[in-house]
């Protein structure tokens, strides 16, 4: 068995508030192979972005406690790295694409300058070489006039173009892993398709492993092979995309699927939603966190926490799976 590009073992994030601490992410493990796209889905506020930031080590160091047995990129553990040793990894071995391209880029520097700073930092080389690499990576995400884009400031581009430039920045050092945190949420449908196509192309081209953080299951179905369903800091279901969409086993997954709006001839009678709300960290119920909102709940669910049965192909953390 080959080494996965990204392997996360037993990652927990706790927020300290006064004397007690609350789990925002509670002991999750997963791995992504090279050239594979895995989605992390769930409602807003269930710990997806925190997971992504914790993998990169970008959470603030005061009031937040991150623990894991290991976070490996191509077999190398990065979880204990600090300071300049960690900065070496960021952008070179693992890169992140952020949700809002409008604010994620520095407004006072040209895109070329920002991308070349990343390349110069990690890969080095002469001025001309760096410029060449920047142009190449902008070209690779589909810009026909990469020189113009490199000379432009973020505010001169549209949201979709900025996100493409962000992808160019993420791929300029050809990292093994890219984490994309809701990369298309703020974009319109056709722009979203372009962004997803480019990500897909780069994934197959460079065999990059992609962790796509999303709450949009339609996007996930289009672009991922595997999917993990997250709720209240835990993984509830972990499987390949096809099985989830054909037969979701966890009631929460099934609930999420039922909420995807359908385009049909007739106007739908009602818009589906999962009743109730995601509880805030620290207010999780004692048993299965989803129990209070679950249509299939029984007494056992309120007492103990079901574990993710990882030995199965379609792993699920539920006492009464579908």
């Amino acid at each position: 068995m080959s080494t996965p590009a990204l392997a996360v073992h037993d990652l927990s994030v706790r927020f300290k508030t006064g004397a007690d601490s609350r789990h925002a992410v509670d002991g999750i493990s997963f791995s992504i192979d090279a050239g594979e796209a895995t989605a992390l889905v769930g409602e807003s506020g269930c710990g997806k972005t925190i997971t992504a930031l914790a993998i990169l080590g970008l959470l603030p160091d005061s009031g937040v406690h991150v623990e894991s047995s290991a976070i490996e990129i191509n077999g190398r553990d990065i979880s204990g790295l600090t300071g300049s040793r960690r900065r070496e990894v960021l952008g070179r071995d693992i890169a992140m694409i952020f949700q809002n391209p409008g604010t994620a880029l520095d407004p006072v520097f040209t895109l070329g300058r920002q991308i070349s700073a990343v390349y110069a930092r990690h890969c080095g080389g002469g001025k001309e070489h760096i410029r060449q690499k920047v142009i190449e990576s902008l070209e690779a995400v589909g810009f026909s006039q990469p020189q113009d884009i490199a000379a432009a400031y973020p505010h001169q581009l549209s949201g979709g173009m900025r996100q493409l430039a962000m992808i160019a920045m993420a791929t300029v050092c050809k990292p093994a892993v890219i984490i994309a945190d809701e990369p298309t949420t703020s974009l319109d449908n056709s722009t979203r398709a372009v962004i997803l196509q480019q990500l897909e192309r780069l994934r197959t081209l460079h065999q990059t492993a992609i962790l796509l953080v999303s709450h949009d299951l339609a996007t996930v179905r289009q672009s991922c092979q595997k999917v993990m369903v997250m709720y209240c800091g835990r993984l509830l279901e972990k499987t390949d995309c096809e099985s989830l969409f054909s037969h979701a086993r966890h009631p929460y997954s099934a609930g999420l699927l039922s909420c995807i709006p359908q385009i049909s001839d007739t106007r739908p009678a009602m818009i589906n939603s999962i009743p109730g709300q995601v509880p805030a960290a620290g207010e999780f119920p004692p048993g299965c966190h989803f129990a209070p909102r679950c249509p299939r709940v029984e007494s056992m669910c309120n007492q103990s926490v079901p574990a993710l049965d990882t030995d199965k192909q379609q792993a699920v953390a539920c006492f009464r799976p579908l």
Partner: protein, 316 residues
């Protein structure tokens, strides 16, 4: 820089200057000192009054007098001081350089140190260093400037203390004597302004540090030095420049008034102060007018600097 942008800014400045000078002239004519009665003593006759008013030009239409005032400001031919008989332009030429030389070092130091401390506090926000710097700022802001000035004078300028510098005066002819006379006022100015500056700059820096693009730079391995000195500092230049530019006229006129009166330095602040108390209208007219012009100038230069530091202004 974009030439059309500059031209537009300069043209915008003209109505502003007209407005500022108009309002200040209006206030001076209707609420300022009236020289008629000073000149005439206790029991003037109606004829005497109207004669003096004619001589002073008070009987002319308001707009004509405003026109004269504008001409005076443009040509810098500002008449003679009532109290000394000296031409106002000569007085300004003599005192303005003194005031600038007096406040410049303290102004620069106070802003640079405030910037450095603000950056430090912002980077370590919430930690003990931040708390230390911020509490010191509050203490600095709370201590009266009188205490600071008199305290420094006692500590540095008298036999009770180190007795290294003069308490008063300004006999500057070379660098050595300049440092001799400027050191204590500079220290006083820095101590008085540092708390305010630090708090302001910290707030600006915290806002910039918490912007999304800083996290992006972090996610791509930028070092703290790069984050602070490239991304944060360049982005914060707009509020920082604005503050500096707008405090220039204030510091030159009123900041120096404080220092000049306590250190007996013959700068424009002291001249203005004396003109206010003696009702020396030609000097007041000149100072008020020039302050207004200086403000508009600072505003215009500030707008031009924007286009240098913010590509969103320069390349819309």
């Amino acid at each position: 820089m974009n030439r059309r942008y500059i031209t537009r800014r300069v043209l915008y400045g003209i109505p502003l200057i007209l407005g500022v000078t108009f309002v200040s002239f209006l206030l001076m004519v209707y609420f300022g000192p009236d020289k008629t009665y000073e000149l005439l003593g206790k029991n003037p006759t109606t004829e005497q009054i109207s004669e003096v008013r004619r001589a002073l030009g008070y009987d002319r239409a308001f707009l004509l007098r405003y026109g004269d005032y504008l001409r005076e400001l443009v040509t810098l031919d500002l008449g003679l001081s009532d109290s000394s008989g000296e031409p106002v332009s000569v007085i300004l030429k003599r005192t303005l350089p003194v005031s600038i030389a007096l406040v410049l070092p303290g102004f620069i130091l106070g802003n640079l140190m405030g910037l450095a401390l603000g950056l430090l506090a912002a980077w370590y926000r919430g930690k003990w260093l931040d708390k230390l710097v911020m509490s010191a700022s509050v203490v600095g802001m709370s201590v009266s400037f009188l205490v600071i000035i008199i305290g420094l004078q006692i500590l540095l300028c008298t036999p009770y203390g180190l007795n290294l510098f003069p308490v008063r005066g300004w006999q500057v002819h070379d660098l050595g004597s300049y440092l001799y006379y400027v050191t204590v006022p500079t220290l006083a100015l820095v101590l008085v302004t540092l708390g305010y500056n630090t708090r302001f700059y910290r707030a600006v820096m915290v806002e910039e540090i918490e912007r999304d693009h800083i996290r992006t730079a972090q996610a791509y391995g930028a070092s703290p030095r790069e984050l602070l000195f490239r991304h944060v500092l360049k982005n914060s230049l707009i509020p920082v420049l604005t503050r500096i530019m707008f405090s220039v006229p204030f510091v030159v006129i009123s900041g120096s008034l404080l220092l000049e009166s306590y250190f007996g330095i013959p700068g424009i602040g002291l001249v203005t102060f004396n003109a206010i108390t003696s009702g020396d209208q030609p000097i007041l007219k000149a100072v008020v007018g020039l302050t207004g012009v200086l403000f508009v100038l600072a505003l215009t230069v500030n707008d031009m600097l924007y286009s240098l530091v913010d590509p969103r202004v320069a390349k819309p």
